[in-house]
Amino acid sequence: MKITFLKNLLMLGAFLCFGIIQAQEVSGTVSDASGPLPGASVVIKGTTNGTQTDFDGNYTLSDVQDGDILSFSYIGYKGQDVTVSGQSTIDVVLEEDAQALEEVVIVGYGSQQKKEITTAVTSVSSEDFNQGTVNDPTQLLQGKVAGLTIVNKGGDPNTNGTVRLRGISTIGGNQEPLVVIDGVLGGSLNNVDPNDIENITVLKDGSAAAIYGTRGSAGVILITTKSGKVGQPMQLTYNGQFATSSIANQIDIMNADEFLAAGGNDLGSDTDWIDEVTQTGYSHVHNIAAVGGTNDVSYRVSGNFRKLDGILYNTGFKQLNARTNLTARLFDDKLKIDFNSALTRRDSKYGLNEALRYAITYNPTAPVFGKDAPFPFSSGQYGGFFETLGLFDSFNPASIARQSENDGTTNTINYSMNFNYRLTDNLAANVNFATQNIKNNRSQYYPTTALYLGNAVSPTTRGLANFLTQETKFDLFEGFATYNNTIGDNISFTLTGGYSFQETDFNNVFFQLGDFPPGIQFDFRNNIESSQDLTEAGRIVANSDRRDGDRIVAFFGRLNATFDDAIYLNASLRREGSSRFGSENQWGLFPAVAVGADLNKYLDLNNVNLLKARLGYGVTGAIPPEVGLFATTYALNPGTSGQDGSSTGQGNRAPNADLKWEEKAELNFGIEFATERLSATLDLYTRNIDDFISLVNVDAALFGGISQRYENAGQLKTNGLEFTANYDAVKNDKFSYNTGLIFSTYKTTLEKNPQGDQVIANLGAPGQNNTSVILVREGEEVGQIWGPVFTGEVNEAGTPQLEDVNGDGTVVTDQGKALDDDVDFAVLGKGLPDFELGWTNQITFGNWDVNAFFRGAFGHSLVNTFRAFYEPIIGSQSSYNFMNTKYARSDIKTAQFSSYYVEKADFFRLDNLSVGYNWNIDSDHVKDIRLSLSGQNLFTITGYSGTDPEPVLQDFGDNNSANGEIVITDGAVDTGTANPLAPGIDRRNSYFTQRTFTLGLNINF
């Protein structure tokens, strides 16, 4: 898009310079490899006599004399000079200039020359994206940007990964980076098909993100979608992918024989439960795009279809996405109008991850079907499936996977219009209007024969249906103006000033009912009038929420200045207000300043193309996670009978009228270095989060028994280092080998915590409630796993013996004493990795190309909760399966959390290997074809015994709403509240990791 834009500016410039001089006439065509280039400039060197090519790439230039040198140029291409010696026709073919292409980088509210960038910004183009089956745009970047961590544990196709830039950016506020799609902020990533993305730019440090204020506090991901070019004949491309996925890794459990040998309860069969609930997932993806343009209008229209299976039986999604990018120019190109729209419908089958969880713990000698039970069993009541009735938290996984439905449809619509009007050559005004609507319809159905949540065991009340509708409407209006000029010869500057208005309106409606007629195989979601709950008081659960007028308003200004074409200054200021604060504290002021210097201009080192140093400082803010936390609310207590009336009582949360902006100040120092073959970037940063917003204990006596509320509570500091290097080891016409390395590390310390020390992150049921495994202590690192140390000895009763850590002769390992001086607890590991690595290798050999991408994280540990709960051979648990990892010990007979269940989870993984072949066909209909084969998650080197050694960056608690997925159980809608202070816990809701092979077909017509 930006190239088109510049090309048009040039075209315009050429018009302005156009003059008529009588002389010899030369004409010809300027083209590139793919066809004529309209708007290319042709000038007689040393004069102002020039023209530009028309729509078909043709030009005619008069007043040309022999010996004149015609200079052909076009942005993004290498220039060419041709000396005139009598020819009347001169045709040239321009070559693309790879370096020039990279030179413009999109930043907030505008773009900048790459050399002028003074902040930590990384730009990744489509050719460097991760290959294979990628459904979530952020996965294109996994391991490609130093400091950007993307974790999608297991890779459930229906959940988005957790995205973190430089670790923790806030405690109580929004953790996810801001997404800006084609200049429109706040867009949903799920509405962008990875195939439509041209480039992703990541603004990493505070000074870069500050222009986006609050929304940019966790970093900014700028996505540029592919668009048409002016004067480009229509082109059609097709991209297809065909993939299979299967389980790559699962935690080791006992088979029937091992289980019986360990004293398990024999139910007479031999069942591989994981096999019963999983499948090989077949997927296909199709993308068709038409791109082109005339002189005034350029466009790109694309349609995307995805159908994916998960590895869990009966899961996956089907998605249709369409995107239109249209650019029109009016009034001699002074007015440019961009109209972009995208719509996505995704029909998801989420399935129930509980099926995976119970597949691990279900008795391996239990039969799948009731008819195979070793005792009389009334299968009919359970849909033919066997159930171990009466056993706590034990459900036939096959019954869950095959009988219950968990579906959803998400409709996402975006459209945006941008008006850009150049008032003068120096001054341009921009108006942006965008709107987004996301509607999510979820429903779950547990038939009358399902024991799990369908209550099949009940003589009277069976079957359950849940319905949830959520709608988020987002409106954006932004206006800004840009003025640029020069002062003298050495100084040029750009001033930007503007206004931004964002409003979100959210509502949801939930209801739950059940008690459907038994004995009928029917999906009663579509016939809820059959529910007997309609006739019985207090059975139907219903609730609704509405958050209207959730607003952010901001005024911003920025100065970019360049001195001597080598020293760059960027300064910005944003004043921002949020309706989430009370009237006293609504506004915050967020400054940023950054300088950079092209040192090589002065040092002029041999063989060095670039040596740049830059320093940036920026302040961003974070807002509370909910609206209205400042306001006193009341609860309404309806009477139990109609005549009682109702009364209002105190609300169920403690308000905090003084809640104010959380501020994050970040200082970033970077060095960029490049030679012909090697390029490297180093960034060092330190960030300080002050007054972070967090749920804090308060004096319950003062707040009507409510013991927590949101307050500005403390201070968090992160120091980090990021390094990126790229090396063209071999580069010639036949063969090239490029290798790249990214490295990142950071350490986050809780500098101040008025709450005092705490232990958080409860392990959970069965039996390990009130077992908190993460230590939060002032002045220490975030994410320390804390607990007793296993000596390796087990007593006769099967209880693991714990170490007297402080050597005082008594072993104190009581959870209630976790913070006492005499407790024998130790730091058992850390949840956050010491460092992360990404290693890219690209090889081209003739028409072949090979891509191998390795990724790793080192130094982190994980609490393996599956082992902590199910590895001890507990006598009273002999009806549940046991874990059988390399750590399993038959002598441990008590489940007691200790160092034994905390494992180092360093890993190094071949994340992606792909091989492609290109055919240049150049027939009338087909230009070229590319065929590729990719494998994802091919092998992992790790000592971790769980399913996936990937770090867990935050904790959703021991419920099933991992990854923020919406889970509806027991009438409550749980979207999960993640705690970033509790990383490192591998909960029992993890999806199994999968390995995917993808065959890709790409045709350009």
């Binding site: 005004a429 207090g538 604060f581 204990n697 006596a701 009507g704 013991s707 039996g767 006598g875």
Partner: protein, 531 residues
Amino acid sequence: MKQLFKITCLSTMLIAFSCTDLEDELEDSFTEDQQFSNNGVSVGGGDGGGGALLAPFARLRAGTAGNTGFFATNTVTGDDVAVTQKGGDWFDGGIWIQLHRHTYGSTHDRVNELWNDAYAGIGECNTSLSNSLNANQTAQVRALRAYFYWRLMDGFGRVKIITSPGADAPQSSRQEVFDFIESELLDVLGISAVTASMNLSGSDLNTEISNYRINQYAALGILAKLYLNAEVYTGTPRWEEAQWAAEYVLDNSPYQLCADGCSVPNQAKRPSVASDPETLEGYAAVFAPNNENNPEIIWAAEYDQTGAGGMNFNMMTLHGPSQLTWGLDVQPWNGFVVLEEFYNSFEDDDLRKEANFLQGPQTDFNGDPLLDYAADDGDLVIDYKPNINELEPNAWRDGGVRMKKFSFALFQRQDMNNDYPIVRLGDVHLIRAEAMARAQADWNMALPDVNALRDRAGLDPLASLTADSFLAERGKEMFQESSRRIDLIRFGKYEDTWWEKTDSDPNKRIFPIPQAQIDASNGSLTQNPGY
């Protein structure tokens, strides 16, 4: 200049059109903006009748008859009920073991709940009192608040007395909190002291029977309980006042022991099981799911499966398969069990034994044996035997008889319907008996009241009593009514040894102030001794 003009124009336009309105009206929460006086909704005042008191009295439900707060801390610390660790199940970081062994500390969740629930009730009362209530409503809310303070003072000793929303106060001594509770109750009763001949005609409380609200007898019942334990709380015994308060209720109130002829239909009667009785009689009827009009209940926390949830004894105590006995909605959690020695202390023909406990081999809805195919011991029939192998770590899953005083109903949901008595006439009898006996230093003075209750339980009268035998009688009568901890303390037996409990630290009579609260109080709360 021209450019400057354009810039100015542009910026003026932008600012003129920009909206800076950040007012957020909360659409899904009730704020001061709502006109609660419209449409028959009362803001806790005047015209809503009983509705005005719904909010404060609803707070009584939290922790009173569930596996949390008040019930758990006052029950599992006693010598009658424990929560065993069944392998991986019910370890919960050791909190249940700590309650049994009296090794609880200041981060104990159940103890935190005891604190927070009481202050939630107090906060609600204070909010309610700041609205326009009539004299009777005000008196009820003040008495209710005094009761919540009694829970705090009984559990923690030194607490803050907060009497208006959000106003801080220093941590009072236990004596000061005692005095506050006493004076509030006396005030709403319209008297300056409890005497043998007191006249309550000046009281703002009335004498009408209203199970879920406070009348004069309910207030006297709380006061009697306060005086009975006065020596524990303040060092000064107040036996006579305890006796007079109880006696006034016994002499003047319309309440009666639920004995002969007092019965309700048995809601747990399985259609095809002939041995299930048609009705529940006497003692058993007082605590039945349909106990709402029982003549013995003076004041109760209202529980209902539809609109007033919070009682979940079925979930707490029953083993999973027992779901099939009554067709319960949800599979129970198999936690709370009765200690063998306590169960065995009941005489076999004590009707309370049958009423209080679920024991022996279990049957399903049709009366067929209830089987547990996952049984540890190869014996598939679920059989709640009194014997329990150990407290932890691998207690038998069907070991120990179960709590059934608040009995179950067919197709019971997770929340039960039984009302939970806060003040009931049976307890008032025992308070009078004990106060009189202690005042006169003669335990035989307690015989008439004790024998009245024994008679109702189908037992022969006793001829004599001692402190120990009185406490045993009280334990049988008051089982599962959150009374055991304070009774053991008052009889000096809280430091005794029972089952796996050997701790004898007298500091444990008072729970630790929650550490989180001390941390949050900016130094205005200090910890109790011994923690």
